[in-house]
């Protein structure tokens, strides 16, 4: 892949534009989806951390899925949840150590960040570049701080 | 004796023939299913006891043979004395000493035990002269009734295993397939698929493993052809399977036997062990590098497991539910490996075809339907039993020439063929040739060989109701059209038989039937409505009588009939005790009275009355 998703909590103002963007991008039938990104209190003054899926190399969510609904998309580098296969057992929600597999009650389904299929809306709308979808030459995928 | 090479088989055959020539007389006691039920085992024991006591010169107990089904079940228990061909019928234990004294020690015939031809009222000595037999053509059932079931020497004496030897030593697998293809053999289980083509397709699938399975589930009510073959001539089935395995490249085979045939399991198992002992099964058969093993897999009482994909799941230890066969089981069958599944009778035909050649077989029967077919002829015919005729023989010949016509001379009404998948054909269709194709056009099918003859006392609505009820019970329940559709069709026939139906219900049944046929997953559902549709087609008036007139012309449907005692009643009191609800009262020599309110129409009084004083209307 040619891009990586970079998160810089140092630059995050907690404006929550990413949350809005994510929610609207994932609307279904004109009902907003649950956000997959959460700017949360970093524990220090003026410190916010946009928490979102780390697209782990050894994902606990993939291991926890007994029907193989979670798979790595090699083009985007994201671990994607196939809604047609998902059986709603909540194993991934319980297993993810970062809480990034979440239950969207309004749509009655489990959701996680899929990097919007290769053009993450949150990075697009982030005013401070705390979130960036950066092209890289090296074939390595990592979330940098 | 363990056969290391084909020549040893020939030598053994010659030795057995020489040994058998020394036997002056043979007693063959039929131990087919019908005769066994009638006490054949006791007759055998009595023969053994008496023969041991009597010590007749030139005759040993070895010449007494338990055989498989001789065919004329109506006349059993049967005893045949060879080489004369003397045919004793309805033999009882107390007749044994007489038979030994008169026909074995001496050369006399016991007239009272002979078959009496009802048309000429003459006794017939030899079974070959009896109409029931003379109109048959015994090929696949040839050994039945002539050999001891699990005696391999008897089997070899009748040219057994020569076909296998020929195939293994002088034919290639492809040539075996070509021979079977040229013979025109079609699956005898009912579908009639060309056997050679099936084997060829399976062989061409690239796989490390191929399987051969014999379908011995025979679930059709009234059918016992496969049973007779498995019990009475098990080696023919084994030989057929082994030849198939050689042709297809299989090393492992299974015989799936329905749970209700324990004797077939015993005899097949015995035959397998004996074949192993003699180098005719297992590793390096007849000293060649071809190895094949056969295991018996038992059913558990499910008709649906006769369906090929359900059968394979059952063999694999899973629930016997069929699957869609868009990917056929010759390509992906047992354990997803290419599998040849054939019926018992199909396999039993194979050694004969290899031995006598494809052209010989092709000449029998009709152009697209070569060979013969075994039938279990049952119902209201005089001569019920197991028969075999050339394909193309008409229904009329089977029912009248072989079957001897309807019992008590009553009028013929219909003949049901093909079990729950088949249909009923009326008198106007009696001249149809029996084969895979002709009956289908008329709305029935030949099926696996069950043939049930009906007279005017059979209600066709009741017949449809019976078969639908059977299928509702046996449906696996996986798909909606069969599970719910047949259930509702059955409920509708119940309605008709109770006089509660309307004319619109008839059309409803026809439409639902069509949907069940196109929507069902497997053959059980797809052919389930056939008995109903064929009876509606040919006996629509009878349905209308039930619907419009609330009347059952045949006098069967309980809700629509009444039992009455007529003037013919002599007051003999024979019917009073059998009545389960004590509905009949009356003193001796006085005309009895039947209380309609208590009558359940069970028919017990009708069966018992010797004066025809019970009227069913």
């Amino acid at each position: 892949m040619n891009y990586r998703f970079i998160v810089r909590p140092n630059l995050c103002t907690g404006c929550r534009s990413c949350e809005l963007a994510c929610s609207f991008t994932h609307s279904i039938d004109n009902i907003r989806g649950l956000t997959r990104i959460y700017p949360l209190d970093g524990g220090f003054k003026d410190l916010w951390v946009p928490v979102t899926c780390l697209q782990c190399e050894d994902p606990a969510c993939v291991k926890s899925c007994l029907v193989d609904a979670l798979r790595l998309n090699p083009n985007t580098g994201a671990v994607e949840l196939n809604q047609d296969i998902c059986v709603h057992c909540m194993a991934c929600v319980a297993a993810c150590p970062f809480g990034c597999s979440i239950f969207d009650e309004q749509h009655d389904m489990i959701v996680k960040c899929d990097l919007c299929g290769g053009d993450p809306a949150c990075a697009h709308f982030c005013p401070t570049k705390a979130l960036e979808w950066k092209p890289i030459e090296v074939k390595k995928k990592k979330v940098a701080i | 004796m363990y056969l290391d090479n084909p020549q040893q088989l020939i030598d053994w055959h010659d030795k057995i023939i020489a040994k058998q020539k020394k036997i002056k007389k043979k007693i063959l006691v039929c131990c087919g299913p019908g005769c066994l039920a009638n006490g054949a085992q006791d007759i055998i024991e009595r023969f053994k006891t008496v023969l041991k006591e009597k010590k007749i010169s030139g005759f040993t107990v070895d010449a007494l043979k338990e055989t498989g089904c001789h065919g004329f079940c109506e006349q059993g228990p049967l005893v045949v004395i060879e080489p004369k061909g003397l045919y004793y019928t309805k033999v009882k234990v107390k007749d044994v000493e007489d038979i030994i004294e008169q026909s074995i020690k001496n050369d006399k015939t016991i007239d009272r035990l002979l078959y009496n031809d009802p048309q000429t009222d003459k006794k017939i000595e030899k079974y070959q002269d009896i109409n029931f037999y003379s109109h048959q053509k015994k090929i696949v059932l040839n050994n039945l009734g002539n050999i001891n079931q699990c005696n391999i020497e008897d089997y070899i004496a009748n040219d057994g295993y020569q076909a296998l030897s020929k195939a293994l030593t002088s034919m290639s697998p492809q040539r075996v397939i070509d021979t079977v293809t040229k013979s025109g053999l079609r699956g005898r289980g009912g579908a009639g698929f060309p056997t050679g083509r099936k084997w060829a397709t399976c062989r061409n699938v690239e796989s490390d493993v191929h399987y051969v399975i014999c379908n011995g589930d025979e679930g059709d009510p009234g059918a016992f052809m496969d049973r007779a073959l498995m019990e009475g001539d098990p080696f023919s089935v084994l030989e057929g399977m082994t030849i198939a395995a050689f042709a297809v490249g299989a090393k492992q085979g299974y015989i799936y036997v329905r749970e209700e045939y324990p004797l077939a399991v015993v005899n097949l198992q015995k035959a397998i062990e004996i074949a192993h002992e003699n180098g005719l099964l297992g590793d390096n058969i007849l000293g060649t590098d071809f190895s094949f093993n056969i295991k018996i897999s038992r059913g558990a009482g499910a008709f649906v497991c006769g369906e090929s994909s359900a059968l394979m799941k059952s063999v694999a230890g899973e629930v016997g539910e069929p699957r869609a066969k868009y990917i056929r089981s010759v390509i992906k069958g047992l354990y997803d490996k290419p599998t040849v599944l054939n019926n018992v009778e199909t396999f039993a035909n194979v050694p004969i075809i290899i031995r006598k050649g494809a052209s010989w077989y092709n000449k029998i029967g009709t152009p697209k339907n070569s060979g013969t077919k075994a039938f279990s002829l049952v119902g209201k015919v005089r001569n019920t039993g197991l028969i075999e005729v050339a394909m193309g023989t008409t229904l009329r010949e089977i029912i009248y020439d072989i079957g001897g016509g309807i019992i008590d001379g009553r009028p013929f009404k219909a003949v049901q063929t093909g079990g729950p998948s088949g249909g009923c054909l009326p008198a106007s269709k009696l001249d149809l040739p029996v084969d895979f194709d002709s009956l289908k056009e008329a709305g029935s099918m030949m099926g696996s060989g069950g043939m049930i003859v009906m007279d005017d006392r059979t209600c066709m609505v009741d017949v449809a109701k019976y078969f639908l009820g059977f299928l509702v019970n046996e449906s696996c329940g996986k798909c909606v059209p069969c599970r719910e559709g047949l259930y509702q069709l059955h409920a509708l026939t119940v309605k008709v038989s109770e006089g509660k139906a309307e004319e619109a219900d008839l059309e409803k049944m026809e439409k639902l039937s069509e949907m069940v046929i196109i929507g069902s997953l497997c053959g059980l559902g797809k052919s389930g409505p056939n008995p109903l549709l064929s009876t509606i087609k040919y006996f629509r008036d009878e349905y209308m009588a039930h619907i419009r007139d609330k009347r059952c012309p045949a006098g069967v449907c309980r809700a629509l009939i009444t039992y009455k005692i007529t003037d013919a009643c002599t007051g003999c009191m024979a019917c009073i005790a059998p009545c389960p609800t004590h509905a009949i009262t009356g003193k001796k020599n006085e005309r009895h009275v039947l209380d309609q309110k208590l009558c359940t129409k069970c028919g017990a009084c009708f069966a018992v009355c010797r004066y025809d004083a019970i009227l069913v209307s």
Partner: protein, 256 residues
């Protein structure tokens, strides 16, 4: 790639793909009640039946369930032909006779114009349509806790011997995927009850929120190589924890 015609339109598909997959991709709506992508197609409801023919079939048609039929070159498919529509109506009609109280069945039947059953209502009809989704998913997940039991009209979904299923871990996949919501389960304080089996729920050690059952968590931990500690904290608290951790690291960066 193969070319086939669906409702008069030429469509391309991968060889060996199931027809239903292609239909769905082409946004052609064909009901398929017993279908679930987590498990192999089953062919039980027959609602996805379509009419197929080929040019060299001389006008002869076949009716196959699209969920199980692999596409072929030159296949001509009709998804809503008169006979197919009639079949679907008949199946839904039969469903209504057996499951008159199921809102899902009534709705689907109404969509196809069947408002009332034309058959005898089955007396003991419950809402289980015997689609087999629950049992197949349970098998796919590796638990094999329930299965279809019995044959024909008396078939039902049940645990072994109709007793409390020893292999059930309370994952609720069966109940959540049942098309008619027939399988019942009860959440009650710390416990979940399903198939008459009572399960204790994992409780978040931070906030007390209940997540999955202890048995399910232990199964996943043991068999899928996931530390059991992961299951002791809920997703919300996990996110807060991640924020705190990253926040701490960032604060060091700021100091530096």
């Amino acid at each position: 790639m193969v070319n086939l015609t669906i409702n008069g339109r030429i469509v391309q598909a991968k060889e060996g793909e199931m027809l239903l997959t292609v239909l769905r991709r082409e946004k052609i709506d064909v009901p398929a009640l017993c279908h679930h992508d987590a498990v192999e197609p089953f062919g039980a409801c027959r609602l996805c039946t379509v009419e197929i023919t080929k040019e060299d079939w001389n006008g002869h048609s076949n009716y196959v369930t699209s969920c199980l039929y692999p596409v072929e070159e030159g296949l001509i498919v009709s998804t809503h032909s008169p006979k197919v529509n009639e079949l679907r109506k008949t199946i839904l009609d039969l469903f209504l006779a057996r499951h008159p109280n199921s809102p899902e069945v009534r709705q689907l039947a109404a969509d196809y114009g069947v408002l009332k059953t034309s058959y005898e209502t089955v007396v003991d009809g419950n809402n289980c349509i015997l689609c087999g989704i629950c049992t197949r998913i349970c098998d796919a997940m590796g638990f094999h806790a329930i299965s279809t039991v019995g044959r024909g009209h008396g078939k039902e979904v049940a645990p072994p011997l109709h007793q409390v299923p020893p292999d059930c871990v309370g994952c609720l996949a069966c109940a959540k995927n049942c098309p008619t919501h027939y399988i019942e389960y009860i959440f009650d304080n710390n416990y979940l009850t399903i198939w008459d089996k009572k399960f204790e729920l994992m409780t978040c050690s931070r906030c007390g929120k209940k997540t999955i059952t202890k048995e399910f968590a232990e199964y996943l931990s043991k068999n899928r190589d996931i530390p059991i500690s992961y299951f002791e904290i809920c997703d919300e608290c996990h996110r807060k924890e991640l924020a705190a951790t990253m926040g701490q690291i960032t604060s060091w960066e700021r100091e530096a």
